[in-house]
Amino acid sequence: MGKLAVNIPWSGGEFRLNNPVLAASGTFGYGVEFASYGPLEALGGLVTKGLSLRPMPGNPMPRIAETPCGMLNSIGLQNCGLERFMREYLPRLPRNGPKIIANIYARNLADFSELAATLSRAPGVAALEVNISCPNVEAGGLLFGQEARAAAGVTAAVKKFSGDLPVLVKLTPNVTDITEIARACADAGADMLSCINTLSGMGVDVRSRRFLLARRIGGLSGAAVKPVALRCVWQVAQAVSIPVIGVGGIYTAEDILEFILVGAWAVQIGTANFSRPDRIFALPAELSALMDELDIASCAAFRGTLA
């Protein structure tokens, strides 16, 4: 399927994907959890669950709720921490298949630097994705992703220690002007931008008169957010010259083409993995078939050709 291959240019060369279909952070574990539902080699890549320097227990329960065409989550970035990741999960990550992108999160620049330094030497990790856009940890990411200077600061700190790995910065849609943050990250050395993380949202239950989430406010994802993601990707692709990865509400091959049409180089599949864990594995082939039907020769030929 040569026409699906994408070679994403970055300052260190080309980031080569067999196809533009990646799994989004926090929705695909470490890949192995999905191994009985399809061949991991079929994917272009996968982004691992957000990793912090030290283990984090996450937020109180309940921390997920289904909403029409979407879901709210306030997981609070529960994860096992860098040390256990290196020891237990890294060796189990799929090799010689999808590109493994490690998603990282921290509360200060020193931690971001340490995560980047360690992971840049970790065998099997092909890129870093920096989560500067977490709306649901009280003391956290909000600051970085919603303010251009802070976003640039994190980007620069990670870039400094990322060695040979390309750095993706993942933007939050919960800002007044996403292009301002995008430009700041690009200027600070980001190699690619992922758009978007979840949208700030809330749910209540009129019978119990309670919030649906213990943390009250959480992040909305799923089909409901696709128009927002599409708008963000289009705006950011116009504003910066570095490649953009689209994420938000993507379910089908047609959704993928929509993101490529507005300028995305690749896409990530998140909440859709929960409806059917085998679905993502079929998407590259379905994308190929749809491209044939629409006479699209390659992803590159179609990218950003919006009339």
């Binding site: 859709a272 929960f274 059917r276």
Partner: protein, 278 residues
């Protein structure tokens, strides 16, 4: 290994006056024939569901044999309301079997404690030990007995049931549970419980009081069912030394202190290994 199965509805049968009350047996065919352990579950999502309902729904395996997969469910929200409208022949996707089932201690006296639809996993458990002399079921229920898969199970074990209709019903159910549980503990047997959280808390407290070895099955809200979203977690109970407080051997994930996914580390846990009070 859990797998995706595309099955079709063979029958949707209202239980008792279940149509009105929303209790059903759903029989699916074409779903393969995996190895499974009672207490395990499947994630289920009809093909007809649009992106409007993104999550599949978890249900205990009631029966899974050459005739297909049977689950028992109660209508509680929008997903289960839609399931109640399934027609024969409709396509349903399930993935599973998922999670860790109940302990299999074939030679021990086993006491099953069920509250309401919490009886569902025992529909999978009892037939596997049919006729065992020391298998007992104690069942508390709000809806009429015929709404649950009770009659078919009652013939295969010592069984008793307690309707919860009037004030005073619940205390007598609890008293009987305590008697049976204390007896089981004296014989160093095994207690298995499934039902609403307040019921499980009562079972846990009685188990601590009498020193019973008890496993509980949790029904937390689930999105992925695969241990990746971390939405369904429960906190392990840890001691001062950072070890799990359970007197039973627990899997390594429960020794690490972080909340664990109910879908992949459970839904069955030793009652003294996890926090029910949060």
């Amino acid at each position: 290994m859990p797998q995706m199965h595309l099955c079709s509805v063979r029958a949707l049968v209202p239980l008792g006056e279940g149509e009105k009350r929303g209790f059903f047996s759903l029989l699916l065919e074409g779903c393969g024939l995996p190895d499974w352990t009672p207490g395990q579950f499947v994630m289920l999502r009809p093909e007809s569901w649009s992106r409007e309902l993104p999550w599949a729904r978890p249900f205990s395996i009631g029966r899974w044999d050459g005739n297909g997969l049977e689950i028992f469910f109660q209508v509680v929200g929008r997903g289960t309301s839609l399931l109640a409208g399934l027609r024969p022949g409709e396509s349903v996707r399930i993935f599973g079997p998922l999670g860790q089932g109940f302990a299999r201690e074939e030679n021990k006296p086993v006491l099953l404690l069920a509250g309401g639809m919490g009886i569902a996993p025992f529909a999978g458990y009892i037939p596997r030990r049919a006729g065992a002399p020391n298998l007992r079921l104690c069942f508390g229920h709000r809806a009429p007995l015929a709404c649950y898969p009770y009659a078919a199970l009652a013939g295969n074990c010592l069984s008793e049931h307690f309707p919860d209709e009037r004030p005073g019903d619940l205390p007598s159910f609890l008293r009987r549970m305590e008697e049976l549980l204390a007896g089981n503990a004296r014989e160093e047997g095994l207690v298995l419980a499934c039902g609403p959280v307040p019921f499980l808390r009562a079972v846990r407290d009685l188990s601590l009081k009498h020193g019973a070895r008890t496993q509980i099955s949790l029904e937390n809200r689930m999105a992925c069912g695969l241990g990746v979203c971390l939405g369904c977690v429960v906190k392990p109970l840890m001691d001062d030394k950072g070890r799990n407080r359970s007197r039973q051997p627990v899997p390594p994930a429960l020794e690490q202190g972080l909340p664990v996914p109910v879908c992949s580390c459970g839904p069955v846990f030793w009652a003294d290994a996890v926090e029910l009070d949060a």
